[in-house]
Amino acid sequence: MKGERDVKRIYLDNNATTAVRPEVLQGMLPFFCEAFGNPSSVHWAGSQVSPAIEKARGQVAQLLNCQPTEIVFTACGSEGDNFALKGTVDVLREKGNHIITTAVEHPAVLDTCRFLEKKGVEITYLPVDGEGRLDLDLLERSITPRTILISVMWANNETGVVFPIHEIGVVARRHKVRFFCDAVQAVGRLPVDVQKAQVDLLSLSGHKIGAPKGVGALFVRKGNPLTPLIHGGHQERRRRAGTHNVPGIVGLGIACQKAMDELSFVPGRMEPLRECLQSGLLTLVPEIKVNGASAPRLPNTLNLCFAGIEGEALLLHLDIAGIAASSGSACTSDDHGMSHVLEAMGVDPLLGQSSVRFSLGRDTVAEDIDRVLEVVPGVVQKLRDMSPFWEGRACRRAS
């Protein structure tokens, strides 16, 4: 389905993916048809290219505050998540077989954990409270001598709730347990410093920060061996085989560089817009709930439930009006039923079906927010008017 041709298109689904930044594409272009060599080759075609890979590695490392050798390029966030979890389980099998994670991780972590569970790994899925927050004490109490990994995301993709990564890092260090953080949604939106956070492994994905789809990275702290997910050639110091995605890696480097340059002002520009959207909706539309409202959140993410209606129907109305948003994670938008994140937060199942996520980007402007505030109340009303779950509340709305 498409927005009408004559409506302005407003993209508020930046947690699903972002447009490639023009300067990123510019930087990538020479590496398709001209500097196309395999960086593993020793001749001119290869040696043209390998410095570009190393430059990008440095740019990613700088954003995370680590050594370039600690960066392993991957194809996406999901690969990094699988690599961190499966690689750790394989390499630390002698030491133990218990992983602590949360009930609200991305499917790339959760599904991998469920797979590992079937292989005999014990997984603790930490619950969250109604605002999506973790209980740090419970986390610490869950650690056993057999615990080999703590896997907690930096920020939740659906609600934007940010976890206390630095505190978890302290706990992990104290108990000498390896700590993996899926930072796919946090990178570029919050300062992500692997030294301050004391994480040992950290995944990121290019397409969430203006680099192209098809490239990501995993930070692997020196001294933390990891069994490869993809065996084969000697690339990436034998940690990840496969010919380098040169243009993608170059693009990721530039995007990280840009994210670094803009960290001081872009998130600060998005947050007031998000606040404006949130307070505007709360004023204009009765009976809505902001998920994770009182937890620390990403500056760009707003997740709401609109009582009485179904999220996808609302999304389609927004889409027709040119506004792209999402219900929960893009990855599960063709599943019916409630998101596992809202379920873990104890949201009522019916209410949970009405959730919509707006995620702002660096290009979002005040006019976009105004337009959303113009469109949403009407379509919510229209859907509520035809909802059997809204009867009898019509008066409340009118008041």
């Binding site: 389905m1 009485g308 209606i309 179904e310 996808e312 129907a313 389609l316 109305h317 027709i320 063709d334 019916h336 039923g337 199942p349 019916l350 079906q353 008017d385 035809m386 909802s387 059997p388 779950f389 009867e391």
Partner: protein, 122 residues
Amino acid sequence: MYSEKVLDHFTNPRNVGEMTNADATGEFGSSHCGDTIKVFLKVEDNVIQDIKFKTFGCAAAIASSSIMTEMVRGKTLEDGLQLTNDMVAEALDGLPPEKMHCSCLAADGLHKAIQNYLNGQK
């Protein structure tokens, strides 16, 4: 993803609303996805004189409900009972495979209302 027909019935659903003097109502909720329909019937001489609905659900559920009301208004109760979800989906120029179950909602809600009517008459 959706046909023009679906979009039309989704954005301008026909026969939405309640009926205070309905001869029968039927409510049906999908156990699969929680989508729910409420159907209101006005019956005269075995014919569906008027029909209204309220639906909680996705675009496919709403469009199915809407077109269903158009398909059976003025038809006999027997015709109504013979309406299948495939007929509903077909009338919408098809639904995406993963949305086919939404068309059941409309037919099942209608059948429920008709059964209630027939049971009430007994």
